[in-house]
């Protein structure tokens, strides 16, 4: 097979933006996508709320994807659909299973990982009780509804109040199902306030914070479930268990970056994000292998995915064409202190220009100060009225100020 400068794995918003950016830098690009079409998770996200930052207008998921697909079609990018990458080797050699070409070994000048996330399942959260029909991950139910046209239940309980859970509460209601309640383990929702109001309050759907599902009953179809409040250690208080009749439970309990094909690659993963450890070009610990989008860390806004993937795609092209620059400076690690769960990129080069550091807090904090420091010097600080784990934060640092390890923390 023809040799390409850049191989992009995954054709969601991350892969498309990376491929476009790489092509714009003069690279020949091959994009492999295992689905029958491009767009990734956006194809099933038919609600509005995409693109306000990137396009300055509010689009639905499929419309956002379509804008990138049209742009991609004008570029020097070869797209292989129905083709699944099976493994990435130590030298970046990638094994791809394609319906037209069979098993192919591809060695490109650089590889961009853009495989997105998969959902945590009932097994992953050790859900107790029977295993009846009627338990779905929220994203699976979304796909069955929005793409296939099937409603997965009539009386529904949703576990987890991140944006996906909230969006699905409205979707199911609009399609004629009754959403009994949303149950959330934490004392707050990880979702946007807008989704609390427009997906739950608008329809009078109750939410129980600091509660969890204790067991599911029914066979072969779900007959209902028990739920209970949790104590400060997040253990259910079984004496206060309540029953709710329902035929469907939707799980919105987290996403896992789909990095399984990297096992033999030497790409080191971050224990907190489950994505690769990267520098400001989104290059992993294996030279020439880049990562972006949800496979790098879970994003709430697709606009940020596109932006990040353009960085990775452009850098991959530069690497493949042998003109990578800006990496001569000293390499410094970016770590976290009090109140911060993770910061990304995990390492940056000193030198010219500026670098954006993205981070998430580990709890909701009001009236705090965000501080970035380097060797005891404060590089950046700002007071914030509120920060929350559900909203990714961003700070911009001047690279010439960075001459040692950087720490991002909160003063609470």
């Amino acid at each position: 097979m023809k040799r390409f400068d850049v191989l992009v794995i995954g054709g969601g918003p991350a892969g498309m933006a990376a491929a476009i950016a790489a092509s714009d830098r003069g690279a020949s690009v091959l994009l492999v996508e295992r689905d029958v079409r491009l767009g990734g998770i956006l194809n099933q996200c038919i609600h509005a709320g995409f693109g306000l930052h990137y396009f300055g207008e509010e689009l639905t998921g499929p419309e956002y994807a379509d804008r990138f697909e049209k742009k991609l079609a004008e570029k020097n990018v070869t797209v292989m659909l129905g083709a699944m990458a099976l493994s990435v080797g130590e030298d970046g050699e990638t094994v791809v299973l394609s319906p037209d070409e069979g098993l192919v070994h591809l060695k490109a000048g650089a590889v961009v990982l853009a495989m997105g996330c998969r959902e945590r399942t009932a097994g992953a959260i050790a859900l107790a009780g029977t295993r009846p029909a009627g338990i779905y991950t929220a994203g699976m139910a979304q796909k069955m509804c929005n793409i296939e046209g099937y409603l997965v239940g009539r009386r529904i309980v949703i576990l987890g109040s991140g944006d996906i859970g909230l969006i699905m509460a409205r979707r199911m209601t609009l399609e004629g199902a009754h959403v009994e309640r949303v149950i959330e383990l934490m004392p707050y929702s990880g979702g946007l306030k807008r989704n609390i109001v427009q997906c739950l309050d608008d329809f009078g759907i109750p939410i129980n914070y600091s509660h969890t599902v204790t067991r599911v009953v029914g066979k072969p179809r779900m007959a209902g479930l028990y739920y209970a409040p949790v104590d400060e250690n997040r253990k259910p208080v079984l004496s206060e268990e309540k029953f709710v009749e329902c035929d469907c439970l939707l799980l919105s309990v987290g996403l896992i970056p789909e990095n399984d094909i990297l096992t033999g690659s030497g790409v080191k993963l971050d224990r907190v994000t489950s994505g690769a450890l990267v520098d400001e070009n989104r290059m992993t610990t294996v030279p020439g292998v880049f990562s972006c989008g949800n496979v790098l860390h879970v994003h709430d806004l697709v606009d940020n995915v596109s932006h990040e993937s353009e960085i990775a795609g452009a850098a991959a092209a530069d690497y493949a064409l042998g003109r990578m620059s800006g990496t001569e400076g000293k390499i410094c690690s970016v770590g976290v202190g009090r109140g911060v769960r993770y910061a990304l990129p995990q390492r940056v080069h000193g030198g010219e220009g500026s670098v954006e550091i993205f981070f998430r807090t580990d709890n909701v904090y009001k009236n705090c100060k965000v501080v970035a420091e380097c060797g005891g010097r404060v590089l950046w600080s700002k007071k914030r009225m509120i920060v929350a784990p559900g909203e990714m934060e961003k700070i911009t640092l001047d690279k010439k100020d960075i001459d040692g390890d950087v720490t991002v923390r909160l003063e609470i």
Partner: protein, 118 residues
């Protein structure tokens, strides 16, 4: 009426009443909360996104081209359920003009899965 402001993660609890013919909002922290409170009280609107049936028995996603009054959401949904669009309808295809006289069109927002792939 009680609600929360959706414009930032603070989520200020808003208490909105009408006093001497004027809308009074309490509980906001900044101007955006005041403006939001007044509009939610006087004329709340929502963009509706749902599915429309195709001539081949599948579904395609649609949206209202502009927000419609919140209280009419289910009327709009009922009307959309009665519509059928060609399976080949592309993004931007108008399934219905000026739905229920509310000034919004029903617009297709996505394509079907390629047929031979199913």
């Amino acid at each position: 009426m009680n609600t929360i402001c959706i414009n930032c993660p603070m989520g200020c609890p808003l208490d909105i009443t009408e006093e001497d013919g004027k809308v009074v909002v309490r509980g906001y922290t900044c101007k955006r909360g005041l403006e939001y409170g007044v509009s939610e009280y006087t004329a709340p609107v929502r963009t509706v996104t749902t599915l429309v049936r195709t001539s081949e028995g599948g579904v395609l996603p649609v949206k209202t081209s502009s927000p419609v009054p919140k209280g009419r959401m289910f009327d709009v949904l009922d009307r959309i359920r009665a519509l059928v669009v060609p399976a080949s309808a592309d993004i931007g295809y108008v399934a219905e003009h000026d739905i229920l006289g509310l000034g919004a069109d029903i617009v297709v927002t996505g394509r079907g899965v390629p047929h031979d792939a199913k």
